[in-house]
């Protein structure tokens, strides 16, 4: 049985989505009222899905671990959201957005999904404007755009440096309207810890009330996971502290395949690590690369003086500065995609040209833009980002160049889904960053917001109807079924086992160590030897975790340590799968860079003959090896080529 049926509709690329919508099932208004849908996560994908499903008439149960849906980490997205509006008359189109997304993803995304994403992108902007999102506008009152990496046109809509916040608050408003109308019930401070499958279909979840510590059961006709990414497996990342893989991971263990787990994005412009007690990394928006120029000194002795703190960056004359992105990639310059910019920074730092005391930083300099445009213009564009930078580093970026270094940011990999965004468990959907589908091996800037809202507002509400149309005879799911009992016992048992170890080290201690292993061996540059070493080190550390973990506090009460312990336990298992996937994929593509697979110029070399597929992993049990399924990727509308930004 081939479980990997992507269900791509027939017809030409431009007709697929219309054809599909015309032929899928629709649930009548009277029947929608009788159907319950669980949506886990309240970011752009989950929030927009929950609101839109409730507007249609379904009963929605929405879950988030934070104290309010508004806190989901989409809120931290800074720079913008892409849409093929062509408002700038710069020859943008659905096809161009589609093409640049596939190319940016290094030809590892599905054509049909990406084309649909580009098709609905314009409607997202309309929707957000109607909700009262205060996008930036020009003096004629029309919407303004900025440029982002990997694109030759200006198609990024923005609200200062707080675009994610504004889009999320718009969607949170829509959600609030449905809460008031009774269409959505929100369970905040609840963490979903298992998926309940009955007769092969997703029928509910098990969640822990984070205030009381009680384990609770929730039933529904379908379950939607919108739980975001798993970058926190690296401990240090730009993700929020609570971001985790637990719900998606348990879905994997219940039978949902995990797609391309090794594809994670390393963002080139983050504030460098300052010390070993750091808890998270702060992103500086990619939009800064519109006006900032990236450089390191040409001469190594200058770099050494910067590292020793005996030379000020402003004392290095222009002629002695190496604008290495402009030098290596003249066509795109500072606006090359994230994976390319990250590797180029690492290359310079590894060669000894890093500019801070750790040798792991490069400059992002606004002097040139300030000279050209004036400080006021720069303040208007990036004021809040500059302020944030100064608060964290105590350095004024109007006067001195910023220092930046790459950091883990986004997971392109995630639960495998078909064209309907359904996982390999019928009735279980995955949307937004939680799924694998649209970004291939590298996501372009300002496309995460686009995908989250596309899935939640305009795709899932249609495709889930096709499944639910066949469920109208299914009565409300009762939670006294033996499958619920079993799942609840599994969750309690898992947490109890962690709690009862009574060792000596905190969950954070193990999480940090795991992060080091992952960053060293499964980070920006990977090779077979390092990946094998990582598999060994993860196993060893995991054994120590289960021997020496200490969870303080009460089991049945608010307990942050217990929450963390559960998340770290799942990260250990994910880490193994990511490493295995990275080992299997002996090519370089997008964010996945294998040292064994490079061109003579040191650029990533893809291997389309052997690796033009989606790796979908199937869980086979605690002791067994996971099974790899391959979904071949066909490119019928794009000439596939080695990516070049030169």
């Amino acid at each position: 049985m081939n479980k990997l049926n992507a269900k791509i509709p027939e017809g030409s690329l431009g007709e697929k989505w219309s054809n599909h919508k015309a032929h899928i099932g629709v649930v009548s208004p009277a029947n929608k009222r009788k159907l319950d849908v669980i949506v886990v996560g309240t970011g752009l994908a989950g929030g927009s899905a929950a609101a839109s499903l409730a507007e249609l008439g379904y009963n929605v149960l929405s879950f988030c671990y934070q104290d309010s849906p508004r806190r989901a980490h989409s809120i931290a997205a800074q720079g913008g959201i892409n849409a093929a509006k062509n408002y700038q008359n710069d020859n943008d189109s659905v096809y161009r957005l589609f093409y640049e997304t596939i190319k940016g993803g290094d030809y590892r995304a599905r054509e049909a999904n990406v084309y649909r994403l580009a098709e609905v992108s314009g409607a997202i902007i309309d929707q957000c404007v109607a909700q009262g999102v205060p996008f930036a506008r020009d003096y004629g009152g029309l919407l303004d755009n900025r440029s982002f990496g990997g694109a030759l046109v200006s198609r990024t809509f923005y609200a200062r440096g707080q675009t994610g916040q504004q889009l999320l608050l718009g969607c949170y408003g829509a959600l609030n309207r449905q809460i008031k109308n009774g269409g959505v019930k929100v369970y905040s401070r609840h963490e979903v810890l298992d998926i309940v499958v009955i007769d092969g279909k997703a029928r509910g979840v098990i969640a822990r009330d984070l205030v009381t510590g009680k384990i609770e059961r929730f039933g529904a006709h379908a379950v939607v996971l919108a739980t975001g990414g798993y970058g926190n497996v690296f401990f240090l990342s730009t993700n929020a502290m609570g971001c985790n893989v637990s719900a998606a991971w348990q879905a994997y263990k219940r039978g949902a395949f995990f797609g391309n787990p090794c594809f994670v994005q390393i963002h080139p412009t983050c504030i460098p690590v300052h010390g070993d007690q750091q808890s998270k990394l702060t992103l500086m928006s990619e939009s800064l690369r519109n006006d900032g120029r990236v450089w390191v000194p040409k001469k190594k002795e200058d770099a050494e003086k910067l590292q020793a703190g005996t030379l000020a960056p402003n004392d290095i004359p222009d002629a002695e500065r190496d604008f290495y992105l402009e030098r290596r990639y003249p066509a795109f310059g500072n606006l090359v995609p994230r994976d390319v910019a990250s590797r180029a920074a690492k290359e310079r730092c590894d060669a000894g040209f890093g500019v801070n005391n750790t040798g792991k930083a490069v400059f992002l300099d606004f002097k040139y833009a300030i000279d050209r445009l004036g400080e006021e213009t720069i303040r208007k564009r990036y004021g809040n980002l500059f302020q944030m930078y100064e608060k964290i580093t105590a350095v004024n970026p109007y006067k001195n160049p910023m220092m930046i270094y790459p950091a883990i940011h986004y997971s392109m990999g995630g639960l495998w889904v078909d064209y309907n965004l359904m996982t390999t468990i019928p009735g279980l959907y995955a949307i937004g960053e939680c799924n694998f589908s649209d970004h291939g091996a590298n996501r372009l800037g300002a496309s995460a917001l686009m995908q989250g809202l596309a899935d939640g507002y305009f795709i899932l509400p249609y495709t889930i109807g096709d499944y639910l149309a066949k469920e109208i005879q299914t009565p409300r799911v009762k939670t006294d079924a033996p499958e619920f009992e079993e799942a609840e016992n599994r969750v309690t048992g898992r947490l109890r086992a962690l709690y009862d170890i009574k060792g000596t080290k905190s969950p954070d201690h193990f999480h940090k160590h795991l992060g080091h292993v992952m960053w060293d061996h499964v980070g920006m540059a990977r090779d077979a030897a390092g990946l094998k070493e990582a598999l060994r080190a993860i196993e060893e550390l995991k054994k120590e975790f289960y021997r020496d973990l200490r969870v303080t506090g009460d089991f049945t009460a608010m307990n942050n340590e217990l929450e963390k312990a559960g998340r770290v336990a799942d990260f250990f298992e994910l880490a193994s799968l990511m490493t295995r996937d990275a080992l299997e994929r002996a090519e370089s593509c997008g964010g996945h860079f294998r040292l064994e697979s490079v061109t003579e110029e040191g650029e990533a070399r893809r291997d389309d003959d052997l690796f033009r597929f989606v790796a979908a992993w199937e869980y086979k049990g605690e002791e067994a090896e996971p099974a790899l399924h391959k979904e071949a990727l066909a490119y019928e509308n794009i000439q596939i080529a080695q990516r070049s930004y030169k």
Binding site: R70, G132, Q166, A240
Partner: protein, 253 residues
């Protein structure tokens, strides 16, 4: 940049087992903290120390640690989000403190925000206010093109100033009356400034103010403390606009 090291700090932290328990201050010592450490990272270090002593760590709310999610709170030395201006607690850094200093850390204090545990409070009251009308009543799909209605640049900018509110609750915690006027006004003002939100501006102002009053927030007596402690510098001018919108709504009745 090399940050100073704070050799020893004394922390007086509010501990409270749960909503019903009686709370009190506990005193802790913490050593060798780099000035480049954020305040919450300092609490992480303290918590690691407590775990190693087999004691229960201090519970506090936090998530993004980038100053935008609004989850972190804390009254630090008598000020919401601590001594630095225009930052949330997660972006406050230890270089703002002196070596040897005693730092007092409390939860938000407001009847409308009951303590759940230690430094964590329940801010559901904010949710209820927004549910009462803090949105534009549009359904997904069927909306006009984004450029169909021009919005003057200045209006969009002013709306954005108001929309920057992160819903942390510092304004309520700071106000001697526990008033939520700054929070409510930010949303009312943002949407009243935009043509998309104007249509139901009157209904929105009425509904949100009524809900705010029901939930036990105090009255605004124009002290302006909320603005000065707001990490996003939301201006009290929005309160003036809320008052105008509210009055208009009442006159329409």
């Amino acid at each position: 940049m090399s940050d100073k090291i704070l050799k020893e700090l004394t922390l007086k932290i509010w501990r409270q087992q749960n909503a019903k328990a009686k709370g009190g201050f506990e005193t802790y010592k913490i050593r060798d903290v780099s000035g480049g450490t954020s305040f919450l990272e300092m609490l992480d270090i303290l918590n690691e120390q407590l775990v190693s002593e087999n004691k229960e760590p201090v519970a506090f709310d936090h998530d993004c640690r980038e100053g935008i999610c609004g989850m972190c709170s804390l009254f630090i030395n008598g000020r919401a989000h601590g001594p630095d201006d225009e930052v949330t607690t997660c972006q406050l850094h230890m270089r703002r403190f002196r070596d040897g200093e005693t730092i007092t850390v409390e939860p938000w204090r407001s009847g409308a925000f009951p303590v759940i545990k230690d430094l964590i409070v329940d801010r559901k009251a904010f949710e209820k206010i927004l549910q009462a009308g803090g949105y534009v009543s549009v359904t997904t799909g069927g909306v006009p093109d984004g450029n169909a209605i021009p919005v003057a640049n200045e209006k969009a900018e002013e709306a954005m100033d108001a929309a920057a509110c992160i819903g942390c609750g510092a304004c309520v915690a700071t106000c001697k009356n526990s008033s939520a006027m700054l929070f409510v006004s930010a949303k009312v003002s943002q949407l009243a400034l935009l043509p998309q939100g104007k249509v139901e501006a009157a209904r929105r102002a009425r509904a949100m103010v009524a809900t705010m009053d029901e939930l036990g927030f105090g009255n605004c007596t124009n002290t302006g403390a909320c603005e000065s402690e707001c990490p996003k510098k939301i201006s009290v001018e929005h309160i003036a606009r809320l008052n105008r919108e509210y009055l208009k709504a009442k006159l329409q009745e």
